[in-house]
């Protein structure tokens, strides 16, 4: 899966590069690790933000944090920093020997073409690697959404309010994809 910091939109629907949030890395890596995601790509073109990601990951994977909390290390070591989506796709194609199917998510998805049953089927089929993309700020830019193979239906809760954090949305979507609901 990938967490995109550019291109995403702000509250006025303008394309921006969002800042990296420390807890996004921790919460999403922990959820990804819990649900067996093999790689969590953190995508930002900004060099100072890349430096921030490196320093957080290094602290927990090889620095003092790794000794203090080995569980956190096991989560953060699946993080891979990439400058843009093209490079993510190339990295997956190189390691998996085929292009991934891309699934994009957005709370404001206008035309979705994949529901959660379909997502579970895609995940279970496993003939091609699956890359799920999440946007920070107010969500993925329109061109990323249009270019993807599938557009996942927004999460529906218990009414019309739908303003989950990206950390919550990732957790819920991974659980719907792979959670063991029978317990």
């Amino acid at each position: 899966m990938g967490l995109i910091h550019h291109p995403v939109v702000d509250k006025n629907d303008q394309t921006i590069a969002a800042a990296v949030t420390n807890l996004d890395l921790h919460d999403i890596a922990r959820a990804a690790r819990t649900y067996g995601v093999s790689r969590f790509y953190v995508v930002t073109p900004l060099e100072d933000q890349q430096e921030l990601v490196r320093s957080i990951v290094n602290h927990w994977v090889s620095g003092a944090g790794a000794t203090y909390n080995p569980d956190r290390r096991a989560a953060l070591e699946i993080i891979e920093l990439q400058p843009n989506l093209t490079d993510v796709l190339a990295a997956i194609e190189k390691s998996e020997c085929q292009k991934p199917l891309t699934v994009v998510t957005s709370a404001r998805m206008e035309r979705s073409d994949l529901n959660y049953e379909g997502l579970r089927e895609l995940g279970a089929r496993g003939d091609r690697p699956l890359l799920m993309l999440f946007g920070t700020a107010w969500g993925l830019a329109a061109d990323v959404i249009e270019a993807a193979d599938y557009r996942l239906a927004p999460i529906e809760g218990w009414g019309s309010y739908n303003h989950l954090s990206v950390r919550s949305a990732v957790s819920i979507i991974l659980d719907r994809l792979r959670g063991n609901m029978s317990t």
Copy 2:
């Protein structure tokens, strides 16, 4: 639902009072609001931490944040600060005219007596108010777990690793309780 900061345990299983995390309030209030939770009790006996909760909530409910982001206001206004679990139970009994059924959660629950199907049934029955309790730090203290009406099964992911943040766990459990999975 309630987020308990005391009594919870640390990594050595000692009972502590945990510090309040700003993003817990935001992420959990947003998830609670999305899934139609009527009240989100933030429970801490520490006065400086109570002051922190008040200042965060005031900023977003009646301060500058309310104008900047009305959606965030709608989430944070369901927060109610309480010093301890006894006072939470009393507040619910007063507003709902009956005692709530309590459901506790823990990633390390040893003897659970409620699965997710059972939780959905409890939620759907609705004859008594339901109070779900989540612990910060390394989870709820043993006496809180033993005193509850129900102990929910831990979330199972895709293997043995299970170290979700409380923000992720709340989101997933609310989705399992009330999410519309058919979309």
